[in-house]
Symmetry: none
Subunit: 420 residues, 2 copies
């Protein structure tokens, strides 16, 4: 059984929605990646009764407890006082800490304030982590269970988790079962469809657990494996990965939490190719996504958003007769847009989309959601027709994602021989 | 005593840190702003034993319980089964829901899958909220306490909170009193700054409560008023609104939950003006946001994303000597970009941004976050220099928001006489 950890976040701001808690999520992710199991995350306000009950319950249920927040010097920081009462540990002035606080304050020319004195009073028998003047993390061993108390300031809390807590847990609790996990970002399959393709895996191996999380327009699949040894877990994950990749081939965008635009960025860099885009219905979203990757200026040259017909003609030289005969949303227009942006920019690849995002503008022949995507390279052009459903923004997102996925498929195959 | 509400979020992704939970924070903020008290937020995985214990404890401690997640059709969605066992309510096939699911699937040409059947089995005696094909929220009254079960997909969950839960709670738990609320979207002031400007209002009137919800890059301010009669509450809100608008003038983007791009769209339409944009560091984000408003083709003509210097010269005719002498990130370049996109497109307004989004590319003179924004109209040009802080995407978002806010200020003032 892996070590069970409970995380308790304390602070009124957490339960009034004033602050979106990031501390617990960060700690959970770090602990999980080292094979420790977070069984509960509990967020509560600065109320003695509720803090007391959360501490007592966590002590009963968990093997280790991580508490964040309420260690500061102001009146509403009451964690230490409650701990003192719940665990019958009188508060004791920690003179070493008091001295360090005084020195640190005078170094930083901050005048002394009784509030800082409060920070140096800690429950009897606790062990300080590296002291900091504003709020100090400490470790309390209560009947063999470690309680980690950390300040709620995210940057400080994260430092304590990485430099104190994880090393402590690894040192004291290895030899337990480890959990290893892989993540697959999937596009083009619904959650039930993925489940259908993989559900036999869970039945075959008791130690495997599949998880799903919709991350529009993608679905996120996690495969977790428990084992006594990390090496065994990794080996099992390797063989599962072969099955997953085979069964979901083409639908897996990334296996390492990379975004689609990061995957494309890496491929473009590896293959020394450049890209430009001509957008209509997406309005700039494709360019925005490509440029959200640091260093994208190495492979992204330009984008044009030709929203009006006049812009299509002026910026991309699409003949007026093409627009009037085939229409702005047509294979012909999409291919010309892709070709023109490619040659005009001198990029290796030209990507274009044109469609009807709605809610207005649909016709019986071209209903809302009708989209043409085209990709142009030195090898020629490929175009495809789609009918997306959803709100205006969902159609924009689906169009951008599908178009970017074409670039991925093209670069992976070095040809247009991929399915839409 | 205010109503005590517990929020339980269910899903392995929440306790493995793979997904930062936003649902509980959103619900807490909304509930808080209506005067309800969230006493605990509990995040747990898809484990029957822990779900059971969380439900039991919440039933004992809270007056109302909000549960999110685990309502989907896959094997790891077990909330409904656990609820059935804990509260001795057998699962019953909800035929109306089953029919709706079938119809919705066939409308969307998705083949039937037994997984969808699972969604239609619900604990006996629960009341469905508006059904949706993928996962359905429902209400269970257990010994007089409402349990709200909502899907974990944030967009759906938020809709349920706003349209079902808050109205339900207001109807059942406010007695004679009514609560009326107004929402202000604010850009350019920090939460403490807003609080400082308005905190006397809370002291002056006991029935007023201010709420804050960060909605990057904006802050959302809610002003709630309790009163015996709706008419009185509305009248009080009217007079508070005068004070709020006066003290926060210029910083209020909208008073009706409109987005900045919707506000601009309305102004452009009213004043019969058109807009084109030339982007560099935002990569298309400004165009994407403008075109997220239905009907934006009426006033948005085109956008160019001139990421490379070559693109700046070829598409906007920025002289090479300007780029080499002043640099791509300079007042001169920004103004030329805005002017050229305006004249080239024949639009009334030309908006341009150029900057360094980072993390690379900064210099001591032009550090990461340096941005020039320029707006051009028949009246002339205005340019401004900014230094934004944050990640690459935060800098892109702040740049786009500030630039769009310039368009709003210009249109409101019919002149460049507005502060940056």
């Amino acid at each position: 059984m892996p070590l069970k950890i409970e995380i308790i976040g304390i602070g009124n701001e957490l339960i009034t929605g004033r602050v979106l808690d990031q501390n617990a999520g960060y700690a959970a992710a770090r602990l999980h990646s080292f094979g420790f199991e977070v069984s509960r995350i509990i967020l509560i306000g600065d109320q003695p009764k509720i803090i007391r009950s959360a501490l007592k319950q966590a002590e009963r249920r968990a093997d280790a407890i991580l508490v964040t927040g309420g260690l500061g010097g102001t009146l509403d920081d009451i964690t230490v006082e409650v701990v003192s009462r719940v665990f019958h540990r009188p508060l004791i002035l920690h003179e070493g800490l008091q001295g360090q606080i005084r020195r640190s304050l005078s170094r930083r020319a901050i005048p002394w304030n009784p509030i800082f004195e409060k920070i140096a009073w800690l429950p009897k028998g606790v062990e300080l982590f590296h002291p900091r003047p504003k709020a100090c993390g400490f470790l309390m061993n209560e009947k063999g269970k470690p309680f980690f108390f950390l300040p709620g300031v995210p940057a400080e809390m994260k430092r304590y988790v990485d430099r104190q807590i994880i090393p402590y847990l690894l040192q004291h609790y290895t030899g337990q079962e480890v959990i290893r996990q892989r993540i697959y970002n999937i596009f083009g399959l619904l959650e039930p469809e993925i489940n259908e393709k993989l559900k036999d895996l869970e039945k075959q191996f008791e130690s495997i657990q599949l998880g799903f999380y919709p991350n529009f327009p993608e679905n996120r699949l996690t495969v977790s494996v428990r084992s006594e040894k990390a090496r065994w877990a990794d080996r099992l994950l390797d063989s599962i990965e072969k099955v997953v990749v085979e069964r979901l081939s083409g639908y897996i965008i990334s296996t390492n939490e990379q975004t689609l635009e990061e995957v494309i960025g890496e491929l473009l860099r590896q293959k020394r190719r450049s890209l430009s885009v001509a957008e209509s219905c997406t309005g700039g979203l494709i360019g925005h996504r490509i440029t959200s990757v640091p260093g994208s200026s190495e492979y992204f040259d330009r984008g044009v958003t030709v929203y009006s017909n006049r812009a299509k003609t002026e910026l991309l030289d699409i003949p007026k007769r093409v627009l009037s005969y085939y229409g702005a949303v047509s294979e012909k227009t999409a291919v010309l847009m892709a070709e023109r942006i490619r040659t005009q920019s001198g990029s290796d690849l030209g990507l274009a989309v044109t469609g009807i995002a709605g809610p207005g503008g649909g016709t019986p022949e071209k209903p809302v959601g009708t989209v043409w995507i085209a990709l142009s390279s030195f090898q020629g052009n490929k175009a495809g027709h789609f009918l997306f459903r959803g709100s205006r923004n969902q159609i924009k997102i689906l169009t951008a994602h599908t178009a970017l996925n074409w670039v991925r498929s093209y670069l992976l195959n070095d040809s247009f021989l991929f399915s839409n």
